[in-house]
């Protein structure tokens, strides 16, 4: 019974070893050019604005202040008031404005200071942007990108620290992306901007300042990553670990610890939450016969819940040697206390613990 349940963090392991969590792994390949996620996003927006006159960005403080997280740095100076628009503090207002602009032929990028505030405008996102194409029987499409930081941040407690991946992934009509690396962010955002449908791009505040290697290809102006395709970040043969956004980092760090003990985990970076790349997941599980899903969001109706359910409904279920397991954020609003906050989302050692329990290794 227990193995089928979610391993929520506060119950599984103790609080003692949580301090190391904030330290990033710095052992990535240094051969390629390094670029922060923030700069990758900035480059993607800049290139697409240059490429297509219809693309413009709007949001709170995106213009003169360069964006609350400086993602739009320099764009207002380059493109001016017409295409980089500071909005009043009214999420439902500017989201509706963006939807209307898209219906009339523009390609807005709608920045939310954080996706927590996008809840104010969720009707515009789901009921208007997400359904107008269907309700107009294919005559009015809404090419729009909703983007901004999502998920657990640091020290901002219950109302500013939560993942909306499952919320948006629930809704037909929307496409939902949750990138991890700088390449992911650049390639996926560019594809999203060119897409004919509304796309929700869930970024992560803590990742903004993280530098990742960028291949020469990724620095090109036509670097696009297809929506709906996952990426195998690290190949392995013993267990498949799926994750999205910052949890990919947790999964990779956990996999590194496991490698030291002779367990080779295959880490899949989902990249898209809707559509979900089940093909990559099932292929991997057919090889490893084990699955652990890792996410920072809540367990109920979460991304992990969806992956496990789909696996169970498919033939690939018979390839599993053990029941698949979800590793998720604790099922509580995010605590403010630093030590508890760290313990409320999966850590690398929790990944190790979950994998070992799943593989029945001591």
């Amino acid at each position: 019974m227990a193995s089928r349940n979610t391993l929520t963090m506060l119950s599984a392991s103790g609080f003692g070893k949580m301090l190391a969590r904030r330290a990033f792994s710095t052992s990535r390949a240094v051969a390629a050019k390094q670029m922060t996620v923030r700069d990758a996003l900035n480059q993607a927006i800049d290139e697409e604005m240059e490429r297509d006159e219809r693309v413009f960005i709007l949001g709170e403080e995106v213009a003169q202040y360069d964006g609350a997280y400086k993602v739009t740095r320099g764009l207002w100076k380059k493109y001016g008031d017409k295409r980089v628009i500071d909005t009043p503090i009214s999420e439902m207002g500017f989201t509706g404005l963006a939807a209307g602009a898209a219906m009339a032929g523009l390609r807005p990028i709608c920045e939310f200071m954080t996706f927590n505030f996008a809840m104010q405008s969720i009707d515009q996102i789901i009921n208007s942007a997400g359904k107008t194409f269907y309700m107009s029987a294919g005559r009015v499409n809404v090419p729009i990108v909703f983007r901004g930081p999502n998920g657990a941040a640091s020290g901002v407690a219950a109302q500013h620290s939560q993942c909306f991946g499952a919320w948006y992934a629930h809704c037909p009509g929307l496409k939902v992306l949750s990138p991890y690396s700088s390449e992911d962010h650049k390639g996926l955002l560019k594809t999203a901007i060119r897409d004919p449908d509304p796309v929700v791009c869930l970024e992560n505040e803590i990742l903004y300042g993280t530098a990742f290697p960028m291949s020469d290809e990724a620095l090109e102006k036509d670097f696009l990553i297809p929506i709906g395709k996952a990426k195998i970040e690290k190949p392995g043969k013993h267990i498949t670990i799926t994750a999205h956004s910052k949890a990919v980092e947790t999964a990779l760090e956990g996999a590194k610890l496991l490698a030291g003990e002779g367990i080779e985990a295959e880490v899949i970076n989902l990249r898209s939450l809707r559509p979900l790349d089940m093909e990559s997941i099932t292929k991997s599980v057919a090889k490893t016969n084990h699955l652990l899903s890792v996410e920072q969001g809540w367990p109920t109706c979460g991304i992990g819940a969806e992956i496990l359910a789909r696996l169970m409904e498919s033939e690939i279920f018979y390839h599993l040697d053990q029941p698949a397991v979800r590793l998720t954020g604790a099922d509580i609003p995010m605590p403010y206390t630093k030590s508890l906050e760290a313990a409320a989302i999966p850590r690398p050692e929790d990944v190790v613990d979950a994998v070992k329990r799943l593989l029945k290794v001591k």
Binding site: I89, M92, L97, G138, P172
Partner: protein, 403 residues
């Protein structure tokens, strides 16, 4: 609401406080110099309420008998234009009666009539250009009618049959027409308001405007305030057309005025359009009206207003006023009225009967238009349904669907 915002506000206040000398000059000057307002000082503390100033007067062109009150205000429209306007008002009425009844008989699931508000639809539609984009709320089918949406298209949409351009994907009266520049109706109230501003922003400088209709009830939604704010700050050519019928479904507003009429609406919309294009500015028109019919088929207005009140307004009907006006010009008479009613009724019934007989759109349309390109997982659902229907076809009313 944003944490960062309140912090930056704090900084701003502190910055102001630092410069005390400047602060002193500001408050000792003859006029207050706050960044948010241009006003005067007062030493008298008092509440300001609706009785503190006189309300905006209601503009009118015709009196109750259809006479022009001020010759300079007569819109002086060509005869054929006026006759089309009048005929559309009557046709709208007749269509409403028949489709309302069809809902009551269980033939369609929902309907909304426009009784009493015909002048608003037709008067404003006539003053606009077809290129102007319309965002309706839901009670604006007269605008569509005047733009050329056919009776058959109305009926087909309400029935969601194979003739419906919307492929039966929306509930009745949620019309939309790309050809007629009319955005598909969205049920949640007031969402069309910021969207209209967004479209106006996109159309800025093109010589066309956006008109956004909404009811007085919608004005309470937060979207309305955001829309007004944006339209002004982004200088968008948009007309906000408020249909103030005095009731937000069942909640009455405090004050009511009389004086609507088609000539008034035409003149006001025409002027608003000119101004909006020339100045790149939003205009708000508040059309004071009376919804003679129920809010929708889900409503029974006798629960919140008296039959006498409704009767009184029925006698002050805008169509009547316009008819008097046309009669004084020698363009209309009792005979023509009778003929028009008979013809309109016949036309609506023809469309109605044809619409009722039409098949439903192909069932597989259920899966289209979720995304621009059919994704594999939706295609899979479509195929599964095809296999299922093939196997169990005898259990489904497949012959009522188009193939």
């Amino acid at each position: 609401m944003a944490l960062n915002k309140s912090i930056s506000l704090l900084f701003r206040i502190r910055k102001h406080l630092r410069n005390k000398n400047q602060l002193c000059t500001r408050f000792s000057s003859s006029q207050p110099n706050f960044p948010g307002a241009k006003t005067s000082w007062t030493e008298k503390l008092q509440f300001t309420d609706s009785s503190s100033y006189s309300p905006i007067p209601v503009y009118r062109v015709l009196d109750r008998r259809g006479n022009v009150l001020h010759p300079a205000e007569d819109p002086k429209l060509p005869d054929d234009v006026m006759l089309k306007m009048y005929k559309d008002m009557i046709l709208l009425n007749v269509m409403d009666k028949i489709l309302y009844e069809s809902q009551r008989q269980g033939r369609i699931s929902f309907y909304m009539t426009s009784y009493g508000e015909e002048a608003i639809h037709i008067g404003s539609a006539a003053a606009l250009k077809l290129e102007d984009l319309v965002y309706g709320q839901y009670r604006e089918c007269g605008v569509l009618l005047h733009r050329g949406y056919t009776l058959q298209e109305f009926v087909d949409q309400c029935y969601g049959n194979v003739g419906d351009m919307g492929k039966g994907k929306q509930m009745p009266v949620h019309y939309g027409s790309k050809k007629l520049n009319f955005i598909t109706i969205s049920s949640p109230l007031a969402t069309q308001m910021p969207q209209a501003v967004g479209s106006a922003y996109a159309l800025k400088g093109s010589g066309t405007i956006v008109i956004c209709y909404f009811g007085d009830g919608s004005a309470s939604e937060g979207d309305a305030h955001a829309a007004f704010n944006f339209s002004a700050t982004l200088e968008c050519p948009v007309i906000f057309f408020c249909r103030n019928n005095g009731y937000a479904i069942s909640t009455p507003v405090l004050e009511q005025y009389r004086g609507d009429g088609i000539a008034t609406v035409y003149k006001a919309t025409q002027l608003a359009r000119e101004y909006s294009i020339k100045e790149n500015k939003p205009v708000l028109i508040e059309a004071l009206t009376y919804r003679v019919g129920d809010h929708s088929t889900s409503d029974d207005s006798s629960a919140y207003r008296s039959p006498e009140e409704v009767l009184e307004w029925t006698n002050d009907y805008p169509t009547k006023k316009f008819r008097f006006y046309l009669e004084t010009k020698g363009l209309w008479n009792e005979q023509k009225e009778k003929e028009l009613l008979t013809v309109s009724r016949k036309e609506v019934l023809t469309a109605f009967n044809a619409g009722e007989k039409k098949l439903k759109p192909k069932w597989s349309e259920l899966y289209t238009d979720v995304y621009k390109f059919l994704p594999p997982h939706i295609k899979k659902q479509q195929q599964e349904m095809a296999v299922h229907l093939q196997k169990y076809k005898q259990h489904y009313p497949l012959n009522s669907f188009s193939s």
